[in-house]
Symmetry: C2
Subunit: 714 residues, 2 copies
């Protein structure tokens, strides 16, 4: 390390990497991608080979699987139309109006990269959710033999998603760089990934809560039938919702963040030393090593003899973290052009990611003091469930926001001595570091809905109390880890969008340089500049509007679905009475939830995007810089608040159901159920969609930089 420290300033000014180094790193990338895909294929095959003999379980699992298929088909159909329209707009306008371009290649490339971004994410999501929906029934059956074998199936099922997402991300980014060779084109690819994430996460979020609310209101409340009664036309949609929201949605979200963090780092790295300079190659090297570390973490995850499922998931995360830090340190030793300071920045990012996860756990785990407090407050009535949950939800944002603030500051200051531009690059590498373990994170996250479904299937299939207890233990671990991974996803998005702010400035300056307007080059965005300030305030209000539209969308959509449930009950003879062989039209409900979700989502996304364009047209690039900042600040605040408060309410309800504060059926329980109902669209619809909204808006800003430079009022 010493030799490097003395040489680093000299190296920084001319950080070249040998041709051999470049080839080695790309080979490393290719090998880890192949490794990830092969391992995922093996895991999928292994999961499918597991015992699956209970007919009733298989029948219900089959309904869920075909429901998920119906959702994905519809979603991808609408997405294809949407993506087609956007691709045409991109071709016409980006990076500049096509009629003013010397040749149309750059516009065409941008449009193709955009489409590629959506397709890569879509394929990974599709396969992942398919395997997850195979794993649930098999996990249920394995639970008859104990926690450890059931854990293995659930986790391996989820891991297919984790490996595919990260592998596809690295493959896509590498392909764009090798084929196009232009870092800016990556922003197009990243925008494609964001579009898909917006559909998958926000659309899936509306879908799942629509189904949940409708099934409960029409079934449990009106008809007085149990939660999972097959006479309820919405029951399969409800089960599908868990899968599409958490498996596909979270996967697309983290694919998006992962691509965006790499894109931002590569854009800034390329500005430092060109398309395949040391700093760009460092991004690829770290991403490949992160995937490798995830492979190790996933392969070693298992419940030991005295261990718990939560312990197994956590240790898998820690193994991944440790392996990543060691491997990247080795790489920094081997490649003399890699800087220790940058390694430090990515290590800081990763550490802060882990800290955010632990802090989220503190506020949402029932073994920690906060959940019992909210449960206790529920004894005084539902208003106090809400008030205490809102209060602790507000407090829970502090560790993450301060953590992100410190990691950005430390990364910047660490890399600043390396030379001009390195400081912002350092922040983007902190984001890359934080996202390095994302393969393991997605695997743990996808584990949640698989074991959740497995628990339901075990009950419906009559597998006995022992099995249900085992499945319960897994479900509880899944819930805890889910809250943590949500916190992590938001934190990662936070650090990523900071680098996107840097990327936006890079894009603006590149455009200004091309236009020869060198006198206007940005050195930043000044808060005292009223156009910046204007942007900050408008940008700050957008996440609130976006959240409100999504939550109201759930409400409107649920009303449509309830009408459909009533129609089926009235028109399908024998359904109400439960005559043998009479089944409701499950797919119709799934269609309504899907179409409605996308119908409600599009205006919310459109408001965010149009506001960006209006702000840019009014105040130019300075206003957009402020707009992005305001969006990041209130976006992080609301995303963290809603996700954590939602998780807190959910677990407070479960804590009471476990026999505390009066247990199931008590007044405290009724109050906690109200809290949980409020928390559902908070944590599953609005909260985690805000990340995606921020990323989408940041990318729109970067892509439209040239247009804002040429047309604005002030």
């Amino acid at each position: 390390m010493d030799t490097n420290t003395t040489a680093e300033v000299a190296a920084a000014t001319a950080s070249n990497i040998s041709q051999a180094g470049i080839i080695i790193i790309f080979i490393l990338c290719a090998l880890t991608i192949i490794g990830a895909f092969v391992y995922a294929a093996w895991l999928a095959k292994w999961v499918r080979a597991q015992k699956n003999e209970n007919k009733e379980i298989e029948r219900i699992a089959g309904l869920i699987r075909s429901g998920a298929d119906a959702f994905m088909r519809k979603e991808y159909l609408i997405l294809a139309v949407f993506a087609g329209v956007v691709a045409v707009l991109i071709f016409l306008f980006l990076p500049g109006p096509v009629w003013k371009q010397a040749n149309i290649n750059s516009n065409l490339t941008m449009a193709l990269c955009y489409i590629a971004g959506t397709v890569f994410s879509a394929i990974a999501g599709k396969i992942g959710i398919y395997v997850a929906s195979l794993a649930n029934a098999r996990t249920a059956e394995a639970a008859t033999h104990g926690i450890a074998p059931a854990f293995r199936i659930g986790f391996r099922g989820g891991s297919v998603m984790g490996l595919l997402v990260v592998g596809a991300c690295l493959l896509g980014v590498m392909a764009v760089m090798l084929l196009v060779g232009d870092a800016s084109a990556l922003l197009g690819f990243s925008f494609g990934a964001s579009s898909l994430a917006l559909f998958a996460k926000a659309g899936g979020g509306i879908f799942t809560k629509t189904a949940d609310v409708s099934a409960d209101l029409a079934g449990k409340v009106e008809m007085g039938i149990p939660e999972d009664d097959p006479r309820n036309p919405a029951v399969i949609a409800d089960n599908v919702g868990d899968n599409v929201g958490d498996v596909a949605g979270m996967g697309a979200d983290l694919f998006d963040s992962n691509v965006a963090s790499m894109a931002a780092a590569i854009v800034m790295g390329a500005a430092l030393d060109g398309g395949t300079g040391a700093n760009v190659m460092m991004v690829f090297c770290y991403a490949a090593l992160g995937l490798l570390a995830s492979l190790v973490g996933i392969a070693t995850a298992k419940v030991s003899d005295n261990g718990t499922p939560t312990g197994a998931l956590n240790s898998s995360t820690y193994v991944t973290t440790g392996v990543f830090l060691v491997l990247t340190a080795l790489a920094t030793l081997i490649f003399p052009c890699f800087q220790w300071r940058i390694w430090g920045a990515s290590a800081v990012g990763l550490m802060v990611g882990v800290i955010i996860g632990l802090a989220t756990n503190y506020f949402t785990d029932d073994n920690k003091p906060i959940v019992p407090k909210v449960a206790h407050a529920s004894k005084t009535g539902p208003a106090f469930t809400i008030l205490s949950g809102v209060s602790y939800g507000f407090l829970s944002v502090v560790p993450a926001m301060v953590g992100i603030a410190f990691s950005a500051l430390i990364a910047y200051k660490l890399c600043e001595p390396l030379g001009d531009g390195y400081a912002m690059y350092g922040i983007s590498m902190a984001a890359v570091g934080m996202l390095s373990i994302v393969g393991t994170i997605i695997s743990s996250d996808a584990f949640g809905p698989i074991v959740d479904n497995a628990r339901g299937l075990a009950e419906m299939g009559g597998l006995g109390e022992e099995t249900i207890r085992n499945a319960d233990a897994l479900d509880s671990a899944g819930n805890t880890v889910k809250a943590v991974t949500k916190g992590f996803a938001i934190g990662a998005a936070g650090l990523t969008v900071i680098s996107l702010l840097g990327a936006f400035m890079s894009e603006v300056n590149m455009a200004l340089t091309e236009m020869g307007r060198l006198g206007e080059l940005l050195t930043g965005f000044n808060l005292i500049d009223p156009t910046v300030f204007f942007g900050v305030l408008v940008g700050g209000s957008i996440p609130a509007v976006f959240s409100a539209m999504l939550i109201l969308g759930v409400d409107k959509n649920a009303q449509r679905m309830i009408a459909e449930i009533h129609r089926q009950w009235n028109e399908i003879k024998g359904l109400r009475e439960g005559v043998e062989g009479v089944e409701p039209d499950y797919n119709k409900c799934i269609d309504i939830a899907t179409e409605g979700a996308l119908k409600e989502l599009i205006p919310a996304g459109a408001v965010a995007i149009l506001a960006t364009i209006v702000v840019g047209m009014v105040g130019g690039v300075n206003a957009v810089g402020g707009y992005l900042l305001g969006n990041i600040v209130t976006g992080l605040l609301l995303a963290l608040f809603m996700s954590n408060a939602g998780g807190l309410w959910d677990n407070a309800k479960k804590y009471i159901e476990a026999g505390n504060e009066g247990g199931k059926g008590s007044d405290a329980h009724k109050a906690a159920v109200i809290g949980d109902t409020v928390g559902d669209p908070f944590k599953d619809t609005a909260g985690p969609s805000i990340n995606t909204q921020i990323t989408v808006v940041s990318l729109v800003a970067s892509l439209m930089a040239t247009i804002f430079l040429n047309f604005s009022i002030f």
Copy 2:
């Protein structure tokens, strides 16, 4: 206007005002202050002379009055200790460490100005609340003769507060300028006003909700006695709470904003052309004309034959607005050194203030579509009351945030051509313009709790149905206007703190100039600078923490008070049974609410102030600039959200109680009551206290500028 336009650029570079002009403006100030005080005294005397014959009403009103006295006594006692400690700290450290100062005068002046700020606001509040507590009983009796005479007493009672607050503000600022002659000393005066506002608004907010919740839970729920049963030891505290929260709290809040806006404008005006230059005198002239306009607006307010109380309150606001615009236009014609562009900036500010008020009205008035929607959603259960209220609360922030953004942008661009420094000065004059009508605003606001109490007194005193109907009409008008004035107060604070951000930069640069560190002079705060960004994220999390601590404080404090209620019931013989002549110890409950409120408030305030200091010590003045911005953005968002959502829930409950969606006692009503309980601490404790938190933090930052310049890590 033409002659001015052609001359304006020349005038701007040397905007001197003649000695005669200065004298005329100061005489104008003195005359309007005297006019306001004399008119207030006459109104107070008039209110006291009104008929007050019902013994039962007088007895209960007397209890409320002495309860309010007890609160104010205790509050001012604790405040005196707090202010004493702060004054010593100011003397020791501000504007610089006293042991490093050439002479101690500037430190002594700063400490004295601080104390003066607290005392001026305290006296105005004390008298105002006294008159308001006289007016309630008389309003109730007058309601037997109709709406118009009752309106007159209620409004005139509230006007005493309005006139005293604005008169005291102008007097204080003028006294500091004439005696000290240093614009920076005004920041000390302003900090004093903010300290008082923090106690009055946040402390009063915790007090009122503590009493409300405890009285309801121990009385209505446990004992099953009616809301205003005199056996309940907390019942007087509950009634006192309405007065101290809305009359004294809102008065102190707007006193604070008004002083801060004048201080910021004067600091920036003085930087342009010295202590009594045209731009400083313009602030005084506009403030005096605003007070004069408020006098006219107040004097002309009355319910016409076919009119409604809401109409009368609105027309009083419009009269004030119109008179102000005409008078300031005349002044700009008369004084050739006044700029039309600056007049334009203040007109824009005022207009945006009115727009914010109207938008708030749209979201909280039951004649508009939103309140019925939330009432309708309540039919599905309390979770939907909460979810729809949260969603519309989020949407309601947009007009205000975008309005503030546009007014700042327009004011800046309007004044920018006048020369360096005029643009930020223009923003501060927009804030002065927005606050010009504050006398009328406070009068309308204080009208609310007076008629609210009057309605209760009319019922308890058995004045008959006709009277109660009249009082109800007034109460409803009071509620609508209260929501609007809260929106206005937050908007005004928003624009003021933008100018405080400018004032902070002025202070930093002045300190740098004194230290001879001219190379470091700030030209703004760059968002891409990681210390600024660090500050933004930390500052953005503070309003959430502050709100959470206040809401949790209400909860803790209520538990203490409920214990005291139980103690009195157990220990005072005959109280439970209602034996004639046995009374609870009302003042003990008031003491507990007061002490507890201040105990819970101080940590919340301390966290905000300490975070400012830590951020300054870590990242220096740049981090503090970012911190203030982050604080403003999320502070505005949360303040508007909580105030509006709370008002919306309150009115949705009242809308149902008026017979809609099933009426009183229906499930929808029960759900709406839960929404209202959640909304209470939102709208009366946390929401409106955030303004004050932002102002306090901004002033701490400005006052400590020199210290941050000398000691910081990065």
